[in-house]
């Protein structure tokens, strides 16, 4: 479904992604594990196209020089330099880290905004799906998003991405900063999202909460791929155990 080959991303002369190749097959849940500043967010921005937008804006005002190289295929189409809106149309949607929601809008309006590229009927159906996955959002639909708790905002951020109707949902550290119980709940929700026919690529600092739900995983350090394998292989690898499972 998604095939990224030899991705290189520079900010000025600093290398953020170093010859990184990953693949996601239809129907999978794939994890990218890595510590802070390993390149997880840069990878997500490269896959979602946000980096193309950043690059364009920096270029035109003569700011930070961003260089992107490699190849990126989604359903057979090359899209490394395609802008984010075009990728959303084709079904790649990113839910960003630290649950950025529209804080002054209520929950319902957040979800409606997310249907920008979809028809009214489609948006309505997607919102129903979000309410089914996260019943708490339905209860809070009239509340301003800025007043939600961290966990609720995270659900809303995922909900926003879901309304945009992804085939491949990119989730950047969805479990960051949540309590272990909430993490387990959200991990279950991610599995349900996959059961709705949506392929998921998720990044995380710690493997433990998501290990039970993933099919495969990649470990990234300093922008480089250092390990890849199935859930089983990840769980048994001694280095992964030490660094990302805290064992």
């Amino acid at each position: 479904m998604l095939e990224a080959k030899n991705l290189m991303v520079f900010f000025e002369n600093a290398l953020a992604l170093n010859d990184l190749s990953i693949e996601v097959r239809e129907g999978e849940i794939v994890a990218v594990l890595g510590s802070n500043s390993a390149g997880k967010t840069t990878l997500m921005n490269t896959l979602s196209g946000l980096i193309v937008d950043m690059k364009r804006k920096e270029d035109r005002k003569g700011g930070v020089r961003i260089t992107v190289m490699g190849s990126l295929h989604f359903k057979g189409e090359e899209m490394l330099f395609m802008k984010p809106s075009e990728r959303v149309k084709r079904g790649i949607v990113l839910s960003q880290e630290r649950h950025p929601v529209f804080r002054d809008s209520d929950v319902m309006e957040n979800l409606k905004i997310a249907g920008f590229l979809r028809s009214r009927a489609e948006t309505k159906a997607r919102i129903e799906l979000v309410f089914k996955l996260f019943p708490v959002l339905k209860r809070l639909k009239g509340r301003r998003a800025g007043l939600l708790s961290g966990g609720e905002q995270q659900m809303l951020a995922i909900g926003i991405a879901l309304v945009a109707n992804p085939h491949l949902l990119l989730m950047d550290e969805p479990l960051l900063g949540l309590s272990p119980m909430l993490q387990a709940d959200l991990a279950r929700a991610i599995k349900e999202i996959r059961n709705e026919g949506i392929t998921v690529l998720v990044t995380e600092q710690f493997a433990r909460p998501i290990l039970p739900i993933i099919d495969r995983g990649y470990v990234v350090e300093n922008g480089m791929l250092v390990f890849q394998g199935t859930r089983q292989e990840l769980a048994e690898n001694p280095e992964v155990k030490a660094a990302y499972l805290g064992l």
Partner: protein, 288 residues
């Protein structure tokens, strides 16, 4: 009684001056210092449609609004695109463009009694014992209607919702497929159209000349600074404070104080509370 009525009219005129300026800023963070120039340019455009092309006013006015919106839209793609995100550069460019428009109009001889737009409504009515002409009531009605329509537009249409999204969180908006340059140019077009609508209803009250462009910019700035730039309620409150302040000053101190009130308000508010009386300390809030 007359204080109350004329204060209200004056406040709504100020709100009309400001609404486009503050809308563009609220959505895309773009302070359009050509706002006043676009206001008077739309008046000149309507006058040209009326007197050179011979169109009736009911056709010239909407055409002038559309033309001004188009100017705002092109402004974005031609002048601003490469500077987006550099606030000072945006300010210099829009201000320079505004001055260019105004001086061009002056150079073309755009002043004097022959430049005026016809009233939508003639005649007047007495409210209590105060005589008010229909055109001024029409201004009030337009102001109120515009606020209601804008609210509906922003909350219940796709583009309106995208405006709200871009105003709140650009990156999240981007990641669901909303494009910042389209929204930016549309917000500038809408802001310009609002300036033109204000011009169509307010300009018939007097004679047109290019210097009105500077006045409108100063009024819009005063209202925006007093009310705080990011809230609609602040904008309305700002209009009323300055609007009534002007009328009161004119009545009890002297007519020339009409001009001083907005300028004094700018200075006072910037000293006492730079984020506006109703503005939020946004940066502080975000750090918490």
């Amino acid at each position: 009684m007359s204080l109350l009525i004329y204060g209200l009219i004056n406040s709504i005129i100020l709100a009309l001056y400001t609404v486009g300026f503050s809308l563009t800023y609220g959505i895309s963070g773009l302070a359009n210092f050509a706002h006043g120039a676009l206001y008077i340019l739309s008046g000149y455009t309507a006058w040209s449609f009326l007197n050179i092309l011979g169109l009736p006013f009911w056709a010239s006015a909407p055409l002038a609004v559309i033309a001004t919106a188009l100017v705002g839209f092109l402004f974005y793609w031609v002048l601003l695109l490469r500077l987006r995100g550099i606030a000072l550069a945006e300010l210099i460019v829009t201000f320079a463009a505004g001055v260019a428009i105004l001086e061009l109009l002056t150079w073309k001889g755009f002043y004097g009694i022959r430049y005026s737009l016809p009233l939508f409504l003639r005649g007047g009515v007495e409210i209590g014992n105060v005589a008010v002409d229909y055109q001024r009531l029409f201004v009030v009605a337009t102001g109120i209607l515009l606020v209601i329509l804008l609210w509906l537009f922003v909350h219940h249409t796709k583009i309106g919702l995208a405006f709200r999204a871009m105003a709140q969180n650009e990156r999240t908006a981007l990641s669901i497929g909303i494009e910042s340059d389209w929204i930016g140019s549309l917000s500038l077009a809408l802001g310009s159209a609002l300036a033109a609508i204000a011009a169509m209803v307010v300009l018939p009250l007097g004679v047109m000349e290019s210097t009105i462009g500077y006045e409108v910019l100063i009024y819009a700035l005063a209202v925006a600074i007093v009310g705080g730039l990011e809230s609609t309620l602040g904008m309305i409150a700002g209009s009323f404070i300055i609007g009534y302040g002007q009328i009161l000053a004119a009545r009890y101190i002297g007519a020339k104080w009409m001009v001083i009130v907005p300028l004094a308000a700018i200075v006072l508010v910037l000293i006492v509370r730079p984020s506006g009386l109703f503005g939020k300390f946004k940066e502080l809030e975000e750090r918490v």
